[in-house]
């Protein structure tokens, strides 16, 4: 097994490049997912505030949409 890891003496370069590539791609994916999750949470909060304004407005205006959810 150790012979396999030594990769004909170039082990550090090969495993190094695989490690860097893996790290970069996974980091980019996780950063995107984390950003997406936090933006979704913030958006849901703001949408909730927006919806809280909807009922009062519907009572006054005869918009076709049914009032409330």
């Amino acid at each position: 097994m150790s012979e396999f890891f030594s990769m004909g003496g170039y082990g550090s370069y090969i495993w190094g490049s695989y490690a860097i590539t893996a790290f970069a791609m996974i980091a980019l994916l996780l950063a995107t997912l984390r950003g997406l999750r936090s933006s979704r949470i913030e958006r849901d909060q703001l949408e909730a505030v927006l919806q809280s304004r909807r009922p009062r407005r519907n009572r006054k205006s005869q918009t076709g949409t049914p009032t409330g959810e």
Binding site: E47, L50, R53, R54, R57, T63, G64
Partner: protein, 233 residues
């Protein structure tokens, strides 16, 4: 009889909705006064009319043709006066005006410049370079620019800002002469400029509160069409 009209215009600046479902019509000799609170979109509407800003929906037409089809022709028929005076401090008043005359292909430029300076009685400043002018004099230089070359449409964004009382009178005389020659004037102002029976376009009527608009348009990715009737009813 030229007619200048806009139908169902919606204007978005960045994410902020400025106005929606706005329509207007003006014929030769008309004057349209834009009124509305700050941020109601008076300047944005003037820029949409000039073709600088493309509306999110709806279109602006001159004699029935959309202005976006032939941009150069529309530019040839209009004069636009924005807030900045576009006066170069290094150049004299006459040199400042010469470029705009040449761009409009004015034939006897020097004569036209003199005539324009006379109307706004800043002819005595012709040699003075821009940095010595007061803000009122700079505004008059900008106003002199729109007198050069022939045009059918004036779009004036608060033309009288920085002007004293009697020069406002000159501006309204200018507008009256231009309308008499069959021009259309659309202007926004905060002082009551004596213009006889202008049609008033109050932008507050077309202001759709952002909250309402956001309720109607849950997704802002633009793929869902912006139907302003639905928003404005």
């Amino acid at each position: 009889m030229a007619d200048f009209s806009g139908s169902d215009l919606t204007c978005l600046r960045g994410e902020r909705l400025v106005f929606g479902g706005l329509s207007f019509a003006a014929k030769s000799g008309d004057a349209v006064m834009l009124r509305g609170r700050n941020g109601a979109g008076k300047s944005s509407l003037l820029r949409v009319m000039a073709g600088l800003l493309s509306p999110r929906s709806g279109q602006v037409c001159w004699d029935g043709e959309s202005i976006a089809d032939d941009r150069i022709a529309h530019h040839a028929r209009l004069h636009y006066l924005g807030h900045p005076d576009a006066v170069k401090p290094v150049l004299s008043v006459r040199d400042n005006l010469r470029l705009w005359g040449q761009l409009r292909g004015v034939q006897n430029i020097e004569h036209e410049i003199d005539a324009a300076l006379d109307v706004l009685d800043i002819h005595h400043l012709a040699r003075v370079s821009g940095r010595y002018l007061s803000s009122g004099q700079k505004r008059r230089t900008a106003l002199a620019r729109i007198l050069m070359g022939q045009s059918d449409l004036w779009l004036l964004d608060e033309p009288t800002v920085g002007l004293d009382r009697e020069s406002c009178g000159e501006v309204s005389r200018m507008i009256a002469d231009f309308r008499a020659r069959g021009g259309i004037v659309i202007y926004s102002t905060h002082i009551d400029l004596e213009v006889d029976n202008p049609t008033v376009l109050d932008l507050d009527e077309f202001a759709i509160p952002m909250v309402e608009w956001l309720l109607e348009h849950p997704e802002l990715d633009g793929t869902s069409p912006v139907s302003t009737q639905e928003a404005a009813q």
